[in-house]
């Protein structure tokens, strides 16, 4: 137990002007004079900037010459400059923990209107700090080893960049991604602004490098369930959600999704036999089928048979009762909905294909796949040709990749869409998989990993446009969100990059609405930063691809980055109609003849000073950025904080943008706030550098603020044992006292407050220190 130096306290008090930040409100000379009169204070001075080199030198000189054994710094928040002044003490060979701070800037001069009141408050805070300083004890920072591995949560462009940077230095990276593939939002982008280079072209090589790098262990389709430990020595439990496909066996050949008889979209669909629809049931009756051997082979045979018939007689024609659909539904799907039905009398009555057990139909559409006559069809319930909210970048099957360049190229079975989980039958994918990688009974597995630092790169989600009802998203077809439009534009998307309306036609006019859910006090006050440029990108693409008129409704055009303003100027020249004004409403209710059948955007053109109604074919909502789903769970796992906009809070908004209040936990990319790809990549590299600095040094000093049990005082009541959230307190059965494990203790002091015998001391926040400080602050 450290004992206080026997010598009488000799306190030096230093009052900072902080330019005029403090001295503008607090009479600093007066305060210093007052401080000099406090018992135990040897010297008290005020100074322009204590954190400057000469300021620190002054303190060091005093410590040496005046033989100071305690220092009080009255300046800014200890959260800002405590390390600076501890460093000064250390250089003067005074234990850094014998320094106390009085926060007379953030808690006093900046928040107090009245000068006299601020001066009084500063005096009280200094009085408290001096009392605390007198009771301080020398402590020694603990040095702990750092596990060289880093955990990165989130495999978007931020996580990928950070992983590659760290791996380059031959340090281990665990890259945990919730989705089946790494790549994040960027993998869904078609073009990137302002250069218009294709996102896939610049991202996929990086994704492949991640997969090939021996130092990176990709844990895709996984989530972090638990995190424990501290800087340098973290542990985590990773839940590896089951894809029902073995990642080790699968080679991504694609045989499974090529053979899968089930479809995902259109989500609301129905089966038509001739023109007779099978009624759609929300919960079809269970078919109770069992998997039959050889259905994979059978499904393929039925398809081949169908193809042969199509080759013989192409086009739509009358049903010839080939029966492929019945066999598909009964033997492969296992639902047994279809059958032959007599429609007349006699020895050989005429028959038709009919839904004999319509209550068992799951609308999978397998029957339609083998109908060579196109007599059986699948169609969306609303008749739309394109549903903008259901655009897939991967195969439209229940076992599928999220997009074709997925890394790893291992598919996932969507239990909601899979026939096997609906009827109990169909095992086509399992049967066709030569690697025998598919196991319908597979369950989630867990993995424990150890690492020294964490980079959180959990990204963003876009604002739910349904919340802003005035724009009609979800009700009016052809009102689409930014991400939907991105997918519509995507060359590898379902339309091959053609911009189409719900009826399949090309729009002749498109309105792009900025700031949907951003810069709006009703939803998010913050600016989402990327949408202006994204809107310009869309304006250009629409113009280029369709020649349609483009109306761009903005509040302010924020083109802040390299080459961004130039891109805006280019768009001005391309003839996009820029309207300064936020749209008030999107409606399909026409007043004038030319508005019939169109979407009408109502807005105020603030440059012209008039209210306008703009009839267009399509509306793109530039939905703003919000923290990702699950950000709160990650926040609690790593005990981080979030700023008012919900994004993770950095340690300092300007000078420590990738560090967090939790040592060893860094943030990168849009989880910290909206930003574009260049900024995300830059921040990811910065976070990687911070993590590498830790692992390369291999050790780190941690605060010695922990608790200890004074054995002679401990009654062995064990009250504290259950208090500790870190299970740092154990009961010594031999000595019958509680003992604190210093390595596990994080120094919160909850046990200190709970001990009925005052047998636990919280280092650096002892009862004596706090009581003296409180007494002087209140006096």
């Amino acid at each position: 137990m450290p004992t206080a130096p026997a010598a009488e306290p000799r306190v030096g008090v230093y009052v900072c002007h902080c330019g005029t930040n403090i001295s503008g409100k607090v009479a600093v000379e007066d305060v210093a004079k007052y401080a000099a009169s406090i018992p135990g204070v040897t010297v008290a001075r005020d100074y322009k900037f204590l954190c400057s080199d000469p300021g620190q030198e002054m303190i060091i000189k005093d410590i040496r010459e005046q033989k100071l054994n305690r220092v009080v710094i009255a300046s800014c928040s200890p959260r800002m400059h405590e390390p600076t002044f501890r460093g000064a003490c250390f250089r003067a060979e005074l234990n850094p923990f014998l320094m106390a701070m009085a926060n007379i800037r953030e808690h006093c001069s900046w928040v107090t209107a009245d000068s006299a009141a601020a001066t009084d408050k500063a005096k009280a805070l200094i009085r408290g700090a001096v009392a605390r300083a007198k009771k301080l004890e020398p402590l020694k920072a603990k040095e702990v080893q750092v596990n060289p591995a880093t955990l990165i949560i989130g495999g978007g462009i931020a996580g990928i960049q950070a992983a590659l940077d760290i791996a380059k230095a031959k340090r281990k990276v665990y890259l945990v991604e919730r989705d089946p593939s790494i790549g994040g939002h960027m993998a869904k982008f078609d073009k990137t602004f302002p250069t218009l280079d294709c996102a896939a072209c610049i991202l996929t090589p990086k994704m492949v490098s991640v997969a090939q790098n021996k130092n990176i262990e990709m844990l895709t389709y996984s989530e972090v369930d638990e995190v424990s430990g501290y800087i340098g020595n973290f542990k985590a439990k990773i839940r590896r959600k089951t894809r029902l496909v073995d990642e080790k066996k699968c080679n991504g050949c694609g045989a499974c999704w090529g053979a899968c008889p089930s479809r995902i979209v259109p989500r609301k669909r129905r089966i038509l036999i001739g023109d007779q629809p099978i009624p759609v049931r929300a919960t079809p009756e269970p078919a109770g089928a069992v998997p039959k051997p050889g259905v994979g082979e059978l499904a393929q045979k039925l398809r081949q048979d169908c193809q042969k018939r199509i080759d013989e007689k192409p086009g739509k024609h009358a049903c010839d009762l080939c029966g492929l659909c019945i066999r598909m539904c009964r033997d492969v799907v296992g639902a047994g909905v279809l059958g032959m039905e007599k429609v007349g009398e006699g020895e050989k009555p005429p028959k038709v294909i009919a839904a004999k057990n319509p209550e068992k139909c799951i609308s999978c559409g397998a029957c339609a796949q083998v109908c060579h006559a196109a007599h059986i069809r699948v169609e969306p319930v609303d008749g739309a040709v394109i549903r903008h909210d259901e655009l897939l970048l991967g195969p439209n099957t229940a076992i599928a990749l999220p997009f074709m360049q997925a890394v790893p190229p291992v598919p996932v079975i969507d239990r909601e869409a899979c026939i096997h989980f609906k009827t109990g039958g169909c095992t086509v994918c399992r049967d066709v998989c030569e690697k025998q990688a598919i196991d319908f009974a597979a369950v989630d597995t867990f993995r424990e990993i150890e690492f020294g630092s964490v980079i959180t790169a959990t990204g963003f989600k876009t604002f739910d446009a349904k919340r802003l009802a005035a724009y009609g998203y979800g009700k009016l077809p052809n009102v689409v969100t930014a991400m939907e439009f991105e997918q519509l534009n995507n060359a590898s998307g379902p339309t091959g990059g053609r911009i189409q309306m719900a009826n399949g036609e090309t729009p002749k006019s498109v309105a792009i609405l900025h700031c949907v859910g951003s810069r709006d006090r009703n939803y998010n006050e913050h600016c989402s930063r990327v949408c202006c440029m994204m809107a310009l990108k869309y304006a250009h693409l629409v113009h280029e691809k369709t020649g349609a008129e483009v109306y761009d409704l903005y509040i302010d055009m924020r083109c802040f980055g390299k080459g961004y303003e130039e891109f805006y100027n280019r768009l001005l020249e391309e003839g996009v109609f820029f309207i300064r004004g936020r749209a008030g409403e999107v409606t399909d209710f026409p007043i004038y003849e030319e508005e019939r059948g169109k979407l009408i955007v109502r807005c105020e053109d603030t440059l012209v000073g008039s209210i306008r109604r703009i009839p267009v074919d399509m509306v793109v909502l530039m939905t703003g950025l919000e923290p990702a789903v699950g950000a709160d769970a990650v926040q609690h796992l790593l005990t981080m904080s979030r700023s008012r906009d919900g994004f993770f809070l950095e340690q300092h908004p300007k000078l420590a943008p990738v560090a967090t209040p939790t040592d060893g936990v860094f943030i990168a990319g849009t989880c910290q706030g909206p930003k574009d790809i260049p900024d995300t990549v830059a921040q990811a590299s910065a976070a990687a550098a911070s993590a590498l600095a830790l692992s390369i040094l291999g050790k780190v000093e941690i605060e010695p603020i922990t608790a200890e049990v004074i054995a002679e005082k401990c009654s062995g009541c064990r009250l504290c044992n259950t208090m500790c959230p870190f299970t740092a307190i154990k009961f010594d059965e031999v000595k019958k006292v509680s003992v604190i494990n210093d390595a596990l203790c994080k120094g919160c002091g909850t046990c200190v407050a709970a001990c009925p015998s005052s047998a636990i001391r919280g280092r650096h926040f002892t009862d004596g220190q706090l009581i003296d400080e409180i007494e002087m602050v209140c006096s």
Binding site: S77, P78, R79, M80, N103, R105, E106, H107, C108, W110, V111, T112, A113, D114, A117, A118, D120, K121, A124, L125, G128, Q635, H636, T639, S641, R642, S643, R644, L649, P661, T662, I705, M723, P725, F726, K746, G747, C748, G749, T750, V752, A753, A754, S758, G762, F765, T766, D767, G768, L770, I771, E773, I774, E775, M776, V777, C778, S779
Partner: protein
């Protein structure tokens, strides 16, 4: 001159102290009556610290920590929450109006909330008037609390 109360604020390092710092950075003006003592976690707040404040001349005590679920030490604030209920009952028994003690959750991003909490607390304690330590029990309690090294 009108009565100006003295209020002690005991703030956790991670959320509330940072929130108060943010109020400063944003130059949000509020009543100068509250003086802050920092602890690592609101779970460190021993009731005897509160009694000591009243014994030393405080007219009110504010304890502030992270919002439930946000504790930097996982669950310290839940312990504070439970202790606070007992504390309120105890101060009542000691002849201190329970309104003189208050527990608030202020996060690191809630500078404006900190401003309004301090202003509101100051106004309420001002309305209560000065705290006069009349109770015998308080003297005894606080004296025993001050005995630690």
């Amino acid at each position: 001159m009108s009565f100006e109360p003295k209020i002690l604020g005991i703030l956790c390092n991670w959320c509330s102290y940072a929130g108060a710092d943010l109020a400063g950075t944003a130059r949000l003006q509020y009543a100068p009556n509250l003086r802050v003592v920092r602890v690592m976690c609101s779970g460190r707040v021993d009731p005897s610290l509160v009694f000591k404040a009243f014994q030393s001349g405080a007219d009110g005590v504010l304890i502030a920590g992270c919002h439930p679920g946000d504790c930097h030490y996982q669950s310290g604030n839940y312990k504070t929450m439970r202790r606070f209920e007992l504390l309120k009952r105890t101060v009542g028994q000691l002849g201190i109006e329970p309104e003189r003690v208050r527990l608030e959750w202020v996060s690191a991003s809630e500078g404006e909330r900190w401003q309004s909490v301090v202003n509101d607390m100051t106004a309420k304690v001002r309305a209560l008037g000065p705290f006069v330590p009349s109770s015998r029990a308080l003297g005894a309690e606080a004296a025993s609390a001050g005995g630690e090294p």
